[in-house]
């Protein structure tokens, strides 16, 4: 059985310091679950989720990267193909916030010029350990003209809306071009064991 599983394919990338919760954010979004016991990401990892936005099935192909400097040569090679980048810091870790500037520079160097970006201040459930105020997060985002959200993968705050907002921004951008293009990719899934795509509408 051949079926068209999506109308558009968006490639997203998660970057940020080690331990800020990139893998947990992705796991929450793709599997709607949380575990604090993830092994560290080495190199690059990958997840897929299909969402529906404005009547279009959009397949999000999300790449999760290792945070440590050593892996940058490996991970920056993925920047080029990304249409959206989530830049994550940890609100309980000052350093991870200071490094946002470094990550932005990385994006400038390696990603497409028109890549959509969003800054996420993760672990916002840990109020008793917060060291970076929401205002500071908002300020840096404003300064660079980037979207911003505070999230918690653990308490499931803003995760889905963050991805959907980023996807929508990309959709806005592609809308002009897309009418000419046919969705050129058709997937034949004979195994049929991929999880049924979540066609629920998000960002309501």
């Amino acid at each position: 059985m051949a079926k068209k599983t999506y109308d558009l394919l968006f490639k997203l990338l998660l970057i940020g310091d080690s331990g800020v919760g990139k893998t947990c954010i992705l796991f929450r979004f793709s599997d709607d679950a949380f575990t604090s016991t993830f092994i560290s990401t080495i190199g690059i990892d990958f997840k897929i989720k299909t969402v529906e936005l404005r009547g279009k099935k959009i397949k999000l192909q999300i790449w999760d990267t290792a945070g440590q400097e050593r892996f940058h040569t490996i991970t920056t090679s993925y920047y080029r193909g990304a249409m959206g980048i989530m830049l994550v810091y940890d609100i309980t870790n000052e350093k991870s916030f200071e490094n946002i500037v470094k990550w932005l520079r990385n994006i400038d160097e390696h990603a497409n010029e028109d890549v959509e970006k969003m800054i996420l201040g993760n672990k916002c459930d840990m109020t008793d350990k917060r060291v970076v105020s929401k205002e500071r997060g908002e300020a840096i985002a404003r300064e660079h003209g980037i979207r911003f959200k505070e999230t918690s993968a653990k308490s499931n705050i803003n995760i889905e809306s963050a991805f959907c907002e980023l996807a929508e921004a990309i959709l806005d951008k592609t809308a002009g071009r897309e009418s000419a293009e046919n969705p050129e990719r058709v997937v034949i899934d004979r195994r049929n064991n991929e999880k049924a795509p979540a066609y629920k509408s998000c960002c309501s």
Partner: protein, 386 residues
């Protein structure tokens, strides 16, 4: 005699000789070391060259190395502000002293990589509880230092306690203390005790201190993990007691062979990770052009999966007992990392039917989350590829 008993007997005979025939030992180990007595920890020590083939040298080697390791702990795992030679120069040195000789300066620099180690050892092998358990043999000078020599204590962010003060009606004041989270599983132990992950943290810290050109790179925790697990599970209590020191030297020996994988500037060198991935790719092309072409057409590059496979010697791809079994074969091989590439190639070939059917996404998933299977099938296939 059962086949298993006969195998154990063969190991014991080989290990009973005054001078171990390493070639014979390699041969035996390549088919897996039986999980009895102290066979595996002893064989790994021999295969990694920590112990020499002459048995009479063992006790002095072990005594020497273990005592040296103890000195490393004494000299390098220090409370804040203490010089590496043990002096405390209170008059000239202070936390704001940025001079190169300042013990405080070293202390703060060390804490940078220590923080990374801390994050990683607390997520080592989360699917088994071993690393969260207390060790029977904690390091006395560390666990009885009132926390001063506990490495993770240095990188705990200090948090100001806060409370909500509520006033109701006629001046009745209620203070709601904010609850502390308590579900942390990789938690530190009380004075006098330490968990296995704390021991691993110390090993990695000392390795980084003693190999400053390399420092600590994520993934090293996954290399030290299986070695420590094997050493610390030795049924012989005398060996188990020194698992930390023995593991440190075995880890150092293994790292000497694979350190290029962990150094960014060597990525393009012959022993670097990119070259290894390229060799795997060429091997696949030679063995199965169809699969190779399929992955290539899907733009599914080897670095999507084999970067981790190779640099971590497959330690993240299989459950720990299987990893240990794979390492028996890899460590036993004279051309260790050639054999590792054969194993990686076998893993792809075993999934060929799937790969030829799947789309890009399913194939990345398949290779990044390799399905569970009898590990001997992979190893047999790998051996047949040579």
């Amino acid at each position: 005699m059962s086949i298993f008993k006969a195998r154990v007997q063969e190991f014991e005979n080989t290990l009973a000789k005054d001078e171990i025939d390493l070639k014979a030992l390699r041969q035996l180990c390549s088919n897996g070391v039986p999980d009895v007595n102290s066979l595996r920890p002893l064989c790994w020590k021999l295969l990694l060259g920590y112990l020499g083939p002459k048995k009479e040298s063992w006790s002095s080697t072990l005594a020497k190395k273990r005592s040296l390791y103890r000195h490393f702990i004494e000299d390098l795992v220090l409370p804040p502000g203490l010089k590496e030679n043990g002096d405390k120069d209170i008059l000239c040195d202070h936390p704001l002293n940025e001079g190169p000789d300042s013990a405080w300066n070293t202390f703060f620099n060390d804490n940078e990589f220590l923080l990374q180690i801390d994050k990683d050892v607390r997520r080592l092998c989360p699917d088994i509880s071993f690393f969260q358990q207390p060790t029977e043999y904690p390091c006395d000078i560390v666990v009885n230092s009132k926390g001063e020599r506990r490495l993770h204590q240095r990188v705990v962010p200090s948090v100001l306690k806060s409370a909500n003060v509520e006033r109701k009606g006629l001046g009745v004041t209620k203070i709601n203390l904010i609850n502390k989270r308590s579900e942390e599983t990789y938690k530190a132990m009380d004075e006098g005790q330490e968990a296995h992950w704390e021991v691993v943290q110390r090993i990695l810290f000392l390795y980084a201190k003693l190999n400053p050109g390399q420092g600590y790179v994520q993934g090293m925790n996954e290399i030290v993990g299986p070695i420590y697990y094997v050493m610390a599970s030795d049924p012989d209590p005398e060996y188990r007691e020194h698992a930390e020191a023995d593991c440190f030297y075995c880890f150092t020996a293994l790292m000497a062979e694979i350190r290029d994988f962990f150094i960014k500037t060597l990525d393009d060198s012959e022993g670097g990770i990119k070259n290894m991935m390229k060799r795997l790719s060429e091997m696949l092309k030679e063995r199965d052009l169809e699969v190779y072409e399929r992955l290539k057409a899907q733009e599914l590059y080897p670095q999507y999966y084999s970067f981790r496979w190779i640099s971590l010697i497959l330690s993240q791809e299989f459950p720990l007992p299987d990893v240990v079994r794979i390492w028996d074969s890899v460590l036993a091989d004279e051309k260790r990392f050639d054999f590792l590439l054969y194993i990686c190639c076998a893993m792809i070939l075993i999934q060929r039917d799937q790969i030829l059917q799947n789309d890009f996404a399913c194939n990345v998933k398949l290779l990044q989350n390799y399905p569970p299977l009898d590990i001997n099938i992979v190893l047999t296939k790998a051996a047949s590829l040579r």
